[in-house]
């Protein structure tokens, strides 16, 4: 369990959110769900990317989210939107239309190709555990120019192959998306966890560890994956958060700690 550490007494869960937010640039159109993706996007908006635009699959476009929505149908996620529309408008006329810069996802299983499973553990026809299903995740993974995945780092979440590919990463290798006919063929995919940052790029197309959370040893990350990832020759440590970043996160983004636990225990 990651404990508060570093000069400002942050948790790795908090730094995970801040690190994920660093991949959102000012002006980006970001398709988000609730939970950590919404926390990270709201943080980006309130810090380095004030003009980043949230779109939410249930219909809100460019809301000024108030803390802390717990559903894509929560009134807090509709606050001061410029348009409250329909799923077709967001998933069809924005996402499939190709206007989403960053698609933000979580997942029960993420495999070495960046594929995501949110449908079933075990056999589809005889499930060990039935999960909620795709929702908009398959659509986000198919059409976003860049894919961000944020998740707690647990070994069971990182199999070599997903039991079921709900949302496509690189499928089965470098040409996977192209062969399948997906509209976005080589999106950068970045996975940010409370232990490390990993990515898949045009070149690699399988998961590569590129950063470690402060104080985390590489061996611990390797032990927490069910496959052998590449390790970047330029492996670095995730940049520490500033006091101001932590203040924004704690006071403005999730002040009542719905998702961010102060005691160091990661939320869902």
């Amino acid at each position: 369990m990651p404990a508060p550490n570093g000069p400002n007494g942050f948790t790795n869960q908090e730094l995970m959110v801040i690190e994920a937010a660093r991949h959102i640039q000012d002006g980006n159109v970001v398709l988000v769900g609730t939970g950590m993706p919404m926390v990270a996007t709201t943080f980006a908006q309130k810090s380095h990317a004030p003009n980043c635009i949230c779109v939410v699959e249930s219909g809100p476009i460019a809301p000024e989210v108030i803390p802390t929505p717990i559903s894509v149908s929560d009134p807090k996620i509709m606050h001061r939107a410029v348009r409250l529309g329909s799923k077709r408008e967001v998933l069809g006329c924005i996402l499939q239309r190709g206007l989403v810069d960053v698609g933000f996802l979580g997942g029960a299983q993420i495999d070495q190709y960046g594929n995501i499973n949110t449908t079933v553990i075990g056999d589809y026809r005889k499930p060990t555990r039935r999960l909620p299903g795709s929702g908009g995740a398959n659509d986000v993974a198919s059409h976003s120019k860049r894919i961000l995945i944020i998740t707690k780092h647990e070994k069971r979440r990182f199999p070599a192959h997903c039991d079921y590919i709900t949302s496509p990463g690189y499928l089965f290798g470098p040409e996977g998306r192209q062969k399948a006919g997906l509209p976005v063929t080589t999106p950068p995919i970045t996975i940010v966890t409370d232990l490390a940052v990993m990515e898949l790029t045009r070149e690699s197309r399988t998961m590569q560890i590129i950063k470690l959370m402060p104080g985390v040893q590489l061996g611990r990350v390797l032990d927490s994956l069910q496959f052998a990832p590449a390790v970047s020759a330029h492996l670095t440590e995730v940049e520490l958060p500033t006091a101001e970043q932590l203040r924004i996160l704690r006071e403005e983004v999730d002040p009542s700690g719905v998702y961010l636990k102060r005691d160091g225990a990661a939320g869902e």
Partner: protein, 310 residues
């Protein structure tokens, strides 16, 4: 199509009797914890309509309660869950046990299928789903889930075709409706515009029944014109315990209570249904059982703290 264009106001009992048949395909409105047509679902459960097929994007507590009551044969949707409040437990249990057929799509895929339905088309293309296992696995009972065709304008490019959905009846809860069935939806509208227009009959419950003059004064603001609507039922609080934008917040305590029963299953679900659905003579009676005016005032105040109330 409606019997009369002018007045479709009736009781929920009449509406469900007339428009929901055993074996029907039913489109469910709302999403997660927002604007689910709970009053209509209670009435379907009380009338014991069996062997239903449910269509939607995100199916949540409305679907789960119908499944818990043993009325559902099959679902086609993009997801089943209540997000922070957990999954849809009755649904999960019956999918895992094989008692419930589940056909998986993505949310855009379901929207696309309703879009085909509302446009009078047999299918709709999409560029989602490609490469995923949504195209690998199909449910028992599915004849033909999709077709992959070559783009005639770019040979070699695959495009997925998905079959239209035209539910026998759709069930939605909206903020305002007039007696003709013109609908005014506030907040997100999810998949409802397409689903409503695709359905062969539509039962609408509403917070407020307004005059048709409202539509004629600002006709750009009418979300859905009356042509698709079969029954208009005035049912304030009809989405409880889910929220209605600008009217009331979701009731987290009651959702947690339902979820605790649903997770446990068996007698706990039966107990919930006995107390809140079968045991309620009407939705007004239900509203008393969940806490009456005091609790409802709190939900309204919570919404008021976030947004303008009309």
């Amino acid at each position: 199509m409606p019997r009369s264009h002018m007045n479709k106001v009736m009781s929920l009992t009449e509406a469900v009797q007339e428009f929901v048949k055993d074996g029907a395909s039913v489109g469910l409105g709302g999403q997660n914890i927002g604007r689910c047509a709970m009053a209509a679902v209670h009435e379907i459960i009380r009338q014991g309509k069996r062997n239903l097929t449910l269509y939607g994007c995100n199916l949540s507590i409305s679907m789960d309660m119908l499944v818990g009551a043993g009325l559902v044969r099959r679902c086609e949707s993009g997801s089943g869950n209540l997000e922070r409040f957990g999954t849809t437990f009755c649904w999960r249990r019956k999918v895992e046990s094989g008692e419930l057929e589940m056909e998986d799509f993505s949310h855009l895929a379901m929207v696309s299928r309703f879009l085909a339905g509302e446009m009078g088309l047999p299918f709709m293309p999409t560029k989602s789903l490609l490469g995923s296992d949504i195209l690998t696995y199909t449910s028992r009972g599915t004849q033909k889930k999709f077709e992959i065709v070559d783009n005639p304008w770019n040979p070699g490019e695959p495009v997925v075709l998905l079959p239209a959905v035209n539910p026998d009846v759709a069930i939605v809860h909206v903020q305002r409706a007039d007696p003709m069935g013109n609908l005014f939806i506030e907040g997100f509208s999810t998949h409802e515009p397409e689903m409503i227009r695709a359905s062969r009959a539509v039962i609408v419950t509403c917070e407020e029944l307004v005059s048709t003059e409202e539509a004629r004064r600002h006709p750009e603001r009418t979300t859905i014109p009356f042509l698709y609507v079969s029954a208009v039922v005035h049912q304030p609080w009809g989405a409880h315990p889910t929220s209605v934008h600008r009217y009331y917040d979701y009731d987290g305590d009651h959702i947690n209570h339902y979820q605790a029963c649903a997770r446990q299953g068996g007698e706990a679900v039966q107990g919930y249904l006995d107390r809140y659905v079968y045991g309620s003579k009407s939705f007004a009676d239900y509203l008393e059982r969940i806490g009456g005016p005091a609790r409802l005032a709190g939900l309204r105040a919570s919404m008021q703290s976030m947004t303008r109330i009309p």
